[in-house]
């Protein structure tokens, strides 16, 4: 085993308050790093910084499954989806490899598994993922500098309180989205990297949403309100048995609900900053909706059991959602915003809220129909969803 130099030993004797001089990992085979990266030739000779004399081995050369690929950039640059040519575009239904072997590369044998729970294409795939990934990057924005914060002006106290409540709950929605996506992403195999990459943009979007609603709440003489009731939050986080069921809750229920709220908020924004936030978050959420619909469509098309499973999942979801809806905070805060104050909330505000909820329910049910997921008739749904599902929506 190599020893420390005399000079450094002398120093050790004088001052070694916290870190005692121990053999370093580099010199101690018992704690040396696991040899996986370097070839057998390099192992054991790697701890010298000096040039080695022997020549290259080059046994890695010519190891490829397909050579001669030349993907050219198009009008929108060189996009992720453009790379799916030849064997690199072959996306099998199962991906049993539990390493980070890139799809199309020559795998390396004998590697211990990283451990992925989602290993089937049907469990995560969406054809649009690669495009959504590139779109997310092109349409990036920064709350700090892109939102015209200087347009936020003092508002009547009831309206400010209402906006702050809505921002508190939307920020908490974003938190659940972050924790859910981040909690699933590492469980997904490498073979479907487009989805992992898209989800990286989605959790980053959610981080921005978490941030911009918090900023809005803290910028105009208000503050945060009371946390949301959290029944749907719990449902999304608890649905850990399969990503498709999580997507049903995260996208088909929560994202459609959030997007409907944002659409109505954008119509009732009090300044350009709010309008900017609502519209941009809506734009980001539209990508999540596209991914979710696309994935569920794929899952339903390739798994006969899936429509019935999702029907059950969503029927449970209806009951959980109604519990959240019983809480007055979000409903009344939205009504105050729509009605331009408490007074207006009692009539126009609540009418607008009712219209919004009908819009939400019918959008949601429309997607379910498109996906072929059976849903209870409006009259059989728990209140108030029965009312919203049965109402007519203004165009």
């Amino acid at each position: 085993m190599a020893k420390s130099s005399k000079a450094s030993k002398a120093k050790t004797a004088k001052k070694a308050p916290a870190a005692s001089a121990k053999p370093s990992a580099a010199s101690d085979p018992a704690i040396a790093a696991t040899p996986t990266l370097v070839s057998s030739q390099a192992q054991g000779k790697a701890d010298s910084g000096q040039p080695e004399k022997q020549g290259p081995v080059l046994d890695w050369m010519n190891k490829t499954r397909q050579w001669g690929v030349r993907v050219k950039p198009g009008k929108a640059g060189l996009r992720l989806g453009d790379l799916n040519v030849g064997i690199y575009g072959e996306i099998p239904m199962q991906w049993s490899d539990q390493s980070r072997n890139p799809r199309g590369a020559v795998p390396r044998k004998g590697m211990p598994p990283v451990g992925y729970a989602v290993r089937e294409k049907v469990g995560m795939w969406a054809d649009s993922a690669a495009d959504l990934y590139e779109e997310a990057i092109q349409r990036r924005w920064a709350p700090a500098t892109d939102v015209p914060w200087n347009t936020v002006e003092k508002l009547p106290s009831d309206i400010e309180r209402a906006i702050c409540q809505v921002c508190t709950e939307l920020s908490q929605f974003a938190n659940v989205e972050i924790e859910t996506i981040a909690g699933w992403q590492h469980q997904m195999v490498y073979g479907y990297h487009e989805v992992k990459q898209y989800l990286a943009t989605a959790s980053f979007d959610a981080a921005r949403h978490y941030e911009c609603f918090r900023k809005r709440a803290l910028v105009n003489g208000g503050g945060l309100g009371v946390e949301g009731p959290g029944q749907v939050n719990r449902m999304i986080l608890e649905s850990s048995g399969g990503w498709s069921a999580t997507v049903a809750y995260l996208v088909l229920v929560r994202a459609v609900f959030t997007m409907t709220i944002l659409k109505y908020l954008a119509r009732h924004a009090y300044n350009d900053a709010e309008r900017f936030i609502y519209e941009h978050v809506l734009q980001d959420k539209a990508r999540l909706l596209t991914y979710g619909l696309d994935h569920l469509h794929f899952a339903v098309a390739h798994d006969d059991e899936q429509p019935a499973v999702l029907a059950t999942v969503l029927a449970i979801g209806d009951r959980v959602l109604t519990r959240d809806l019983r809480d007055p905070a979000l409903r009344e805060a939205l009504a105050i915003i729509f009605g331009r104050g408490i007074r207006g909330a009692r009539r126009q505000g609540m009418e607008m809220y009712e219209e919004m909820m009908a819009d939400f329910m019918q959008t949601h049910l429309g997607y379910c129909r498109w996906l072929g997921i059976a849903r209870a008739p409006a009259e059989a749904m728990p209140p108030p969803l029965n009312r919203h599902a049965g109402a007519s929506v203004a165009a």
Binding site: L37, A46, W67, A142, H186, V219, G221
Partner: protein
């Protein structure tokens, strides 16, 4: 003046929620760089608890509901386990410096290369495509297990996940852009004990990922000019280096905070650094390690061909020296510099031998 108000058809409101709120009269103001995360760390909203009791996922500073469910299940609830002082800055910078591998890399500057160089480039790109997203998967998992009371740190990690996604992607693009393709994976980030994936403590993970792995990669990306054969590759390395510098900064700043806030963990962290240094030297996660597919590819790229392999190897040795130097600087900055004084670290000894 009074007016008759028609109250028929009016909804009854509860409004009791209006009194449940966090600190009020908060008015964050924009600074030079817009309304940043630092600008909203005001009053109680800027206070982070040493230990978080927030198990419902409520936004920090909002009023709690007594009946809320404990759905958080957060493994990281102690501030010093994940905190760093400049998280807001790193996050805002990440937002400002996002780039697109589709449009910000001048792909048209790539022209056919000699076969040995193209193969070396593709082997290197295969390696990066393979390993880059360990730095996406792993921080994502930790984000999902960290209380939102420490959201500033989580935001930086989410930006990192995004960055790594782009890194994985830009190297895959490079492998397929010039008549080559992917080559053989290395298995560098498999599930072996001691790997970044399997760390069971955030700080240990950060020492393996941010300080050892990404630190080594950052030096390499910074030397991209030497490896690059065209403007596209130069851009690729430059843009990746910019991102990687933030990831490494996270690790350094976290260690610094940890060191000050939890001195009882210093010896433990030195043990992590012992291992991290072993990884830098012996090659796990360090593409500049001598030999093997990646080291040999680098020697070919640096030298300018298979026939200039020895020149390339000498340049690689210089890069390794620089890796050691930069690593040492970071560890000193993180507050663990004594290991270079008391003989615990052999890194500089090896550097001096090589010099």
């Amino acid at each position: 003046m009074s007016e008759a108000v028609d109250t028929s058809g009016e909804h009854e409101l509860d409004l009791s929620w209006m009194d449940q709120k966090g600190p009020w009269d908060t008015k964050a103001e924009e600074s030079r760089y817009g309304l940043t995360l630092a600008d909203i760390q005001i009053g109680e909203y800027g206070e982070t608890p040493d230990v978080s009791d927030n198990l419902t996922g409520r936004p920090r500073g909002s009023a709690p509901r007594p009946g809320s469910y404990r759905i958080g299940n957060y493994a990281v609830r102690t501030k010093n386990e994940i905190w760093l002082d400049n998280a807001s800055f790193l996050y805002e910078e990440a937002l400002q410096r996002q780039w697109s591998s589709a449009t910000d890399v001048p792909w048209h500057t790539i022209e056919p290369l000699p076969d040995d160089i193209e193969q070396a480039e593709c082997q290197l790109a295969t390696f990066f495509t393979e390993v880059e997203f360990v730095a996406g998967d792993v921080p994502a998992r930790w984000v999902s297990e960290t209380t939102p009371d420490f959201f500033e740190a989580r935001q930086v990690l989410l930006a990192q996940v995004m960055d790594e996604s782009r890194h994985m992607d830009v190297f895959r693009k490079r492998a397929m852009a010039n008549g080559g393709g992917l080559m053989q994976a290395t298995g560098a980030t498999s599930g072996f004990v001691g790997s970044i994936d399997l760390s069971r403590d955030f700080t240990e993970m950060s020492s393996r990922l941010h300080l050892s792995g990404e630190g080594a990669v950052l030096t390499m990306f910074r030397m991209g000019e030497l490896m690059a054969q065209n403007e596209a590759e130069k851009a690729m390395y430059r843009l990746c280096a910019q991102d990687e510098a933030r990831h490494v900064a996270f690790g350094v700043m976290h260690m610094r905070y940890m060191s000050a806030a939890a001195p009882e963990r210093r010896e433990e962290i030195h043990c992590y650094l012992d291992e991290a240094e072993g990884q830098i030297v012996s090659g796990v996660g360090n593409p500049a390690a001598r030999g093997g597919p990646v080291g040999e590819s680098l020697a070919i790229l640096l030298g300018g061909g298979k026939d200039k392999f020895d020149e390339g190897m000498n340049m690689l040795t210089a890069i390794r020296r620089r890796q050691f130097r930069e690593y040492k600087k970071r560890i000193v900055s993180a507050g663990f510099g004594e290991r270079f004084e008391n003989g615990r670290s052999r890194l500089m000894e090896m550097f001096e031998e090589a010099a």
